[in-house]
Symmetry: C2
Subunit: 205 residues, 2 copies
Amino acid sequence: MPKQVDHDERRREIGDAVCRVIAARGLDTVSLRHVAAETGVSMGRVQHYFATKDEMLMFAFDLISERVEARLGAVHSDDPATYLRAILLELLPLSPAARAEAPVLAAFLAQAVVEPRFAEVLRRGNDEMVVWLAGLIAAVRPGGDPKRDAAALLAFADGLMLQVLIGQVSPEAAEELVDHQLSLVLTRSRHTGSGTRSDSSPARA
Amino acid sequence: MPKQVDHDERRREIGDAVCRVIAARGLDTVSLRHVAAETGVSMGRVQHYFATKDEMLMFAFDLISERVEARLGAVHSDDPATYLRAILLELLPLSPAARAEAPVLAAFLAQAVVEPRFAEVLRRGNDEMVVWLAGLIAAVRPGGDPKRDAAALLAFADGLMLQVLIGQVSPEAAEELVDHQLSLVLTRSRHTGSGTRSDSSPARA
DNA sequence: TGTTTTACGATGCGTTCGCATTGCAAAACG
DNA sequence: CGTTTTGCAATGCGAACGCATCGTAAAACA
């Protein structure tokens, strides 16, 4: 046999190329030939490490998921409010690493709308995030409904990520929006009731 | 010539089929043949009304954009807070119409990340929304930074739309989150400062 | 050292794609 | 009423696709 090769390492190389293709031109432009070219190897090699295109895409999905997770896990702070802020900012395409990964996440997020297999993985990750963030929120501001606040913050962060990606919101503005949103969530929100309804009309025409 | 036909009507029929294909199986599965089959006509007809696939997709994009706009325009209320709430809820896949359009929007949103032509249109629509919502916010709660609040609400709504689409958040929970978020934004937020920073450490590891 | 096994490059196959071309029935128009 | 124009179906073409197959250089193993 030829030189013993690190199987997982090779797979990561190819998976990384898949992510680059997705980030540069979209999930639908991923083909075995493009990925091979991006990796700088032959198509046969790609096929050697992935039986099907689908398996390759799933691997790439797991790969960026792990990377985002690692990036989030590397965030630390003793102060829960600072910690929370740092985590939210890490979800946005602000750092070079996040800027590289966010378009890939966005592509898989959209694909999850029509492919339940992706959606399931995303839901699991999001559920973990809700629990995590809720703990931090409760530490900063006891009482209220920390899980609800966490879910709202995550929706906000996801939407903001996309807005930054399409150039709707600048990185600086995004950071300011995060700070503002955090100040809203962390300062009060004691009540558990339904919120804002200020009259009883059906509000639709 | 054969029976005079309403050109725009035919184009809308086909564009509608494009949206259905996108919603059911994703933007990348759109092909002239699939669209023709979905419309129940021959491929030649599709080609007769759209010179290129790209033109067809752009038309479909404009089509759902107009529909969402129409849906938002149909919302009315005398009370600004109720009005604002109704608009935000209309952005979520809660009604049957919105449930049909949201997956299409999500697909184009993701495509906009790698195709600037889509991004530009989305940015314009979003800018209008910011101005619109900011006016309502200012009417409910004078002072503060209504444009910032509007931008934050839109990011929140976009993210929440996706979370509902992937089954992460139920429609009922989404409605409650909107109410909660509105109560946060509309009740106070007087300050203009940078927000939450609670210590001076860099917050990253 | 001979054998086997591994890691690939190369090539081919059947399908599907976007798009161009062609043909023709039918109705509007002179 | 014939001519022209329009609306479309049908078909063909080259490219790209995922995937299967085959061939082979090379290293681990006996």
